[in-house]
């Protein structure tokens, strides 16, 4: 085996092993970069290894590369969308949606589950903070579903999976980060937002399908609740009143991007202001709330950017050790043909998703594989959306599945971890089916960007 290949494998193994110690991911990345800089320099200087590796053009470039992150205009959207999500969370919009929509759908078999999904999709189109969505949906819906004797796994799986839609359905900080890393005109933030829209909706619809079909086949999973009022005009009016602010925000943010009134970065600022106003009108905005939301935004943005810092060091050292060539030739050397390469990458990302979260995968893996995908002549928007669906799924796959952790924390005590695992399995299958559909019918991802911009 060539030295480069050994080093690249060694670097990834070091990263994986150190990660398992539980030391923060960001610093494990940075530290691994330092360790392998030392290995690389020693190999070249003391053992005469025939490598194009030196300190100045690897770790030595840290300030230039980190500055490149600081001066990115696109990335301003990241903290802004986070702030928007946190403010929105404070505004109590979700609670109002839940209270009104339960009356609308409650009487149908599986109606509570459908309600959760519909609200989840609406929330997803306004924000992308998965923690918030999962916690909110779990807290609001699980007690009601338990009261009505829903199957524990069915109930908790629905709330958990629905909460992850926000990372795929735009606006999404994951898509912002992906566009920044890809840095090509054909996969800009706007393209990716457009491209993810239909697949996201499709997933939501498939979730709803599951929530309706499963109780039809197994009625005891979701008994029809008794004693609910009839659906009349006042109920519908309630729902409308609850939906209007959400719809306004969706229109303001996604609408202004899709209509070209604002760049995605600008739209993120408009969204932040919109969420602030909604919290204000809901009477929930005061100084302590604003303060804690701002602190929260800083900590969330900072930990994502911290991973960015570690990842940029990791990448430059990996590149110095020949990582690009190794991975490119490994992928292109696969005997499955172009589509096989894509499937291999996606399968790899799905597996990585069990252990890593989306930030590391986006920052390290996406830039490594994107050039290969382009070289093979595939549409980068299509591929990135497939990649994004894989990463959304990673929130649901143990052992490191953040949505699972979140839901575990808010679920009533009678819901056990095994219920959660059992409950998300059907949704993981739905995710894979959706992945297959988008893989086979690329137009689901590419059609909207093409009609919007051509």
């Amino acid at each position: 085996m060539e030295l480069e290949t050994l080093f690249v494998i060694g670097m990834f193994l070091t990263f994986g092993a150190l990660l398992m110690t539980g030391f923060p991911v960001a610093w494990v990345l940075g530290g691994t970069a330092v360790i392998w800089t030392v290995v690389g320099v020693v190999a070249v200087e003391n053992f005469g290894a025939n490598l194009w590796f030196d300190y100045p053009s690897s770790m030595g470039l840290a300030p230039e590369r980190i500055w490149g992150i600081v001066e990115s205009e696109t990335l301003v959207a990241l903290p802004m969308f986070i702030f928007m999500g946190i403010m929105l969370d404070q505004s109590g919009i979700a609670e109002r949606l839940m209270n009104s929509m339960v009356k609308l759908f409650g009487a149908v078999r599986g109606g509570y589950a459908v309600t959760v999904i519909v609200i989840g999709v609406l929330l997803a189109a306004t924000t992308g903070i998965i923690g918030a969505s999962v916690v909110l949906l779990g807290m609001l819906s699980l007690p009601v579903m338990m009261e009505n004797k829903y199957d524990k796994g069915f109930a908790v799986g629905t709330a958990c999976a629905t909460g992850t839609l926000g990372i795929l359905i735009p606006p999404s900080i994951m898509l912002v980060l992906m566009a920044d890393r890809l840095a090509v005109p054909e996969a800009s933030v706007g393209d990716l937002f457009m491209g993810a829209f239909l697949p996201g909706l499709m997933l939501g619809t498939m979730y709803v399908g599951y929530a309706i079909l499963r109780p039809l086949l197994q009625p005891n999973v979701a008994p029809v609740p008794e004693g609910l009022g009839k659906v009349d005009i006042s109920v519908i009016w309630e729902v409308c009143k609850a939906v209007v602010p959400t719809a306004a925000l969706i229109l303001g943010v996604l609408g202004s991007i899709f209509a070209g009134l604002a760049t995605p970065t600008e739209a993120s600022g408009v969204g932040a202001l919109g969420a602030l106003l909604l919290a204000l009108f809901a009477g929930r905005l005061n100084l302590p709330v604003l303060r804690s939301s701002l602190y929260q935004t800083t900590r969330t943005a900072s930990f994502i950017f911290a991973i960015f810092l570690g990842a940029t060091a990791f990448s430059v050292v990996l590149r110095g050790l020949g990582g690009d060539e190794v991975i490119e030739s490994a992928l292109l050397g696969l005997p499955f043909g172009p589509y096989g390469v894509i499937l291999t990458i996606l399968f790899g990302v799905f597996l990585l998703g069990f252990f890593l979260d989306w930030v590391e995968i986006t920052l390290i893996i996406l830039p490594l594989v994107a050039p290969v995908v382009q070289q093979l002549g595939f549409d980068l928007v299509w591929f990135t959306i497939l990649f994004a669906i894989c990463l959304q799924t990673s929130f649901l796959t143990p052992p490191v599945g953040f949505a699972l952790f979140y839901i575990k924390g808010v679920a009533p005590p009678e819901i056990k971890v095994t219920d959660i695992y059992r409950g998300v399995v059907p949704f993981i299958i739905i995710q894979l089916v959706a992945l297959a559909i988008v893989f086979l019918v690329p137009e689901i991802a590419t059609w909207l960007p093409s009609v919007a911009y051509d």
């Binding site: 194009w52 470039l61 490149g68 070209g260």
Partner: protein
């Protein structure tokens, strides 16, 4: 000694004229030197963000870099004069001044005066850019007033004076911004490159002449210590390769642009001329801006004066010697 250069580039090597010479130079140096100079090209952002190529070459973090040096005008105010000058020289006039009029030595001096430890070598040039892609026709100077336009460099400063709202939206977002009307107009490069970015699919007015960039020059920047350590034969080979790349880059653009432009017109793109009165006005404002820059930076003044002086003597030749294009 054998040289191994890591060479980050500012433009993707698939961009004709702009990025392609970098890949050619890298290959040619290895082949022609029989492996005594080996150059590895790093596409934009792979190693160093494009705007930091000068810094990292000067610091010796990478041995060489290939870039449009105008990106560094925030650090070295005089470099735009070597990269693209509004109402500046035609490409062959520019290389005349660069090779024979003292330009090459002045450039080394300009970098040294700002403390940058680099050797710069002209290593690619393309002809005029288009004056941009516009949603609406430009008929008078007032049309620039209030226009939302993406326009780089000194030309941007000129348009700002005329009341345009100049932004620097990242290249990746240009297409959408233009399509959606976030901006009314943008410039980027010459037709063979603009085509790759797809502006012709979005707006129908492609304006000429490219008053803001009659020539666009790229340079190979080499760490000065690395350059001084190179043998004379290696240095000679770098100089010769870059001179050849300059010719090839210009040739590639000239060869392709006509066909591309004709293709645009078949698709209904209107290749309009900016009216002469407007050009005269733009020229007057440009001179104001350049004079101001001269007052601010001694190197800028020295280079600008040298270029002005050359253009003055060149004028009579330029206006008489070439056939009018309609003949």
């Amino acid at each position: 000694d054998d040289l191994r250069w890591k060479m980050p580039v500012a433009f993707a090597t698939n961009l004709p004229g702009l990025g392609s010479p970098a890949a050619w130079v890298a290959d040619n140096l290895t082949t022609a030197s029989n492996g005594s100079i080996r150059v590895r090209v790093y596409e934009p952002g792979e190693l160093v963000p494009p705007f930091d190529i000068l810094q990292s070459v000067s610091d010796g973090k990478v041995s060489a870099g290939y870039t449009w040096i105008g990106y560094d005008q925030g650090k070295v105010p005089a470099v735009p004069l070597f990269a693209a000058v509004p109402f500046g020289m035609k490409p062959w006039a520019y290389i005349g001044w660069y090779y024979y009029g003292g330009g090459h030595d002045m450039l080394q001096q300009v970098y040294a005066n700002k403390g940058f430890n680099v050797h710069a070598q002209l290593c690619g040039i393309i002809g005029p850019e288009t004056a941009g892609w516009y949603a609406n026709k430009i008929e008078t100077l007032e049309d620039y007033d209030g226009m939302k336009i993406r326009f780089a460099g000194l030309g941007g400063k000129v348009l700002e004076r005329l009341g345009a709202s100049v932004t620097m939206i990242p290249g990746g977002e240009l297409y959408q911004a233009l399509e959606k009307g976030t901006i009314d107009a943008t410039e980027f490069s010459m037709p063979a490159i603009d085509q790759i970015l797809g502006f012709n699919q979005v707006v129908k007015y492609n304006l000429f002449p490219g008053w803001h960039q009659q020539f666009t020059a790229q340079y190979l920047l080499i760490n000065k210590d690395e350059w001084d350590d190179a043998s004379e034969s290696q240095q000679a080979l770098v100089e010769a390769s870059c001179t050849a790349a300059t010719t090839l880059g210009l040739a590639e653009g000239e060869y392709r642009n006509g066909a591309v432009l004709a293709g645009f017109q078949d698709e209904g793109v209107q290749a309009d001329q900016i009216p002469r009165e407007v050009l005269l006005e733009l020229k007057a404002v440009t001179e104001e801006v350049l004079e101001e820059e001269s007052e601010r930076d001694a190197d800028f003044k020295r280079v600008y004066d040298s270029q002005q002086e050359f253009m003055e003597t060149y004028k009579v030749w330029d206006s008489r010697a070439y056939l009018p294009s309609d003949l």
